[in-house]
Amino acid sequence: MRTFDYARAQSPAQAVSSHAASGQPFYLAGGTTLLDLVKLDVMQPDRLVDINHLTLKHIEPLADGRVRIGALVSNTELASHPLIRERYTVLSQAILAGASTQLRNKATTGGNVMQRVRCNYFRDGVSPCNKRQPGSGCAAIGGHNRSVHAVLGTSEHCIATHPSDMCVAMAAIGAQVTVQGPSGVREIAFSDFHMLPGQTPWVEHALQPHELITHVTLDAPLANSRSAYLKLRDRESYQFALASSAVIVVMDGQRITDARIALGGVGTKPWRALEAERALVGQKVDIALFNQVGERAMQGARAYEHNAFKISLGQQVVTRNLRDLTA
């Protein structure tokens, strides 16, 4: 593994400023993505700034009903926290559906938001990949593009899915990402945080240089809502999603009065399906309706050579989740 400098930050401001003189910032939290990719030489830091000593490890309810999560809260801690299990069931389920026990123990909230794609052509270090080497092309288009390649939000420059389960739940719930940078603190809407690949697939998120995620604040849960995460994959555990859905519904008897739907495994970013939500609200529970909503969620999907099945799988993962949640 390549060598790098190491610095240990005692405060977010110090973390941010310790990068000011050097190049691209590499903050070390859990390290489960970063060190993996440094070993592969896909990420090439000159310096790691270890942020594990920052006091960003709390989950706090806010007076306005929201919940603020420190960036260093581990995936395990977040999923098992009573506030999250009770008020944000979909988030707890999504986190527990991802990775393994050991990885969840170490992976952090901020790090999960920042995790990189699982496309083999990105990871192999040699294939054309516009994320790794801007302008080199995309080997996944026309290559082996089955499991971790998207049908929504793709471009001719990149088709890798965003791999996170946690982020799919956050997309459905709604959240603000608090970041600290050289010029102070700002908030980014979760829906604006991850970028579509478009013409610039190497630009993956809305962070400015040196900015550090300090918190993710979840929107207040919808009153009287129920929620669930459904993940379909090649094996039942420890596998990335082929298609997944985070669904939140509010019911008045048999009528759905409010809904949130987001998808994973099919999009180049955590995919909020606003049109599908609109098709659901005000309607009565009905499997035919859920089928239409599933189709609406996958509207605009474009299949590649090996992943056309994801279009119907994406529809089904929404339909099934709705059916089970409203039963």
């Binding site: 060190l35 440094v38 026990t101 555990s237």
Partner: protein, 226 residues
């Protein structure tokens, strides 16, 4: 904040390049011996190990850290080690190559197989995805820290009784994950919950059925409280 400098590593040292650790104390003739010697402190409940036991101190490096290095303290199986490591030294490699604790195995080296699982402050992690500097001051329990002399930990004994391995390469990681889950109140006690919690430990011999039986049997022997 302390900052390390560039390593200025000499050319033509592939071992250093591969592991990030200078294997100066590596001695294959002593394979296993140091692991047994280090296992003077052990526990049935790993996260109490350090608090409950007197730690002995081992100075692994006498001198000041070299260029690009940093002095860290690791309490491993109750024993305090002070050593100098470069920034890119992976925890797994430091334990195996510097402290001669080779019970923790290197499998995929990318957090995918679980062979390198150990406990940091009582929590199971993949030690291949940590740099040692991250764990300055931490308490680490490896497979060598489970038994008390010739008395195996109940999970080790259960693996023996249930033939919960074939080639054995994944076994120490399996056992460390099992110990962690048996002490974790958030993980259910039913077979499905155990299987899910163990899914980060791959066994290519396919001993899963016996591993599950061993864990559930150890649960009973550990007093039914876990």
């Amino acid at each position: 904040m302390t900052e390390t400098r560039d390593l200025n590593k000499p050319e033509g040292s592939p071992d250093v390049e591969a592991s990030g650790v200078i294997p100066s104390r590596r001695n294959f003739l002593k394979f296993g011996v140091s692991g047994i010697a280090a296992a003077t402190v052990s526990t049935w409940i790993p996260d109490s190990v350090v608090a409950a036991q007197l730690t002995t101190e081992v100075i692994d490096d006498e001198g000041a850290p070299g260029a690009g290095e940093r002095r860290i303290q690791l309490t491993v199986n109750g024993q305090l080690h002070k050593l100098n490591v470069p920034a890119n030294a992976i925890l797994l490699d430091v334990l195996r190559d510097r402290l001669q604790l080779t019970g923790t195995k290197k499998g995929c080296d990318h957090g995918q197989c679980g062979a390198c699982t150990l406990l940091v402050n009582g929590i199971a992690i993949n030690s291949c995805l940590s740099i040692a500097m991250q764990h300055d001051g931490d308490s680490i329990t490896t497979i060598e820290g489970l038994s008390q002399g010739d008395d195996l930990h109940p999970v080790q004994e259960a693996f023996w009784d249930h033939d919960a391995y074939q080639c054995g390469y994944c076994t120490s990681g399996q056992i460390m994950s099992a110990v962690a889950l048996l002490n974790d109140p958030n993980i259910g006690t039913d077979d499905d919950s155990v299987k899910e919690a163990m899914s980060g430990n791959i066994c290519r011999c396919g001993a899963y059925k016996n591993i599950l039986a061993a864990i559930q049997s150890a649960r009973g022997k550990m007093g039914g409280t876990v």
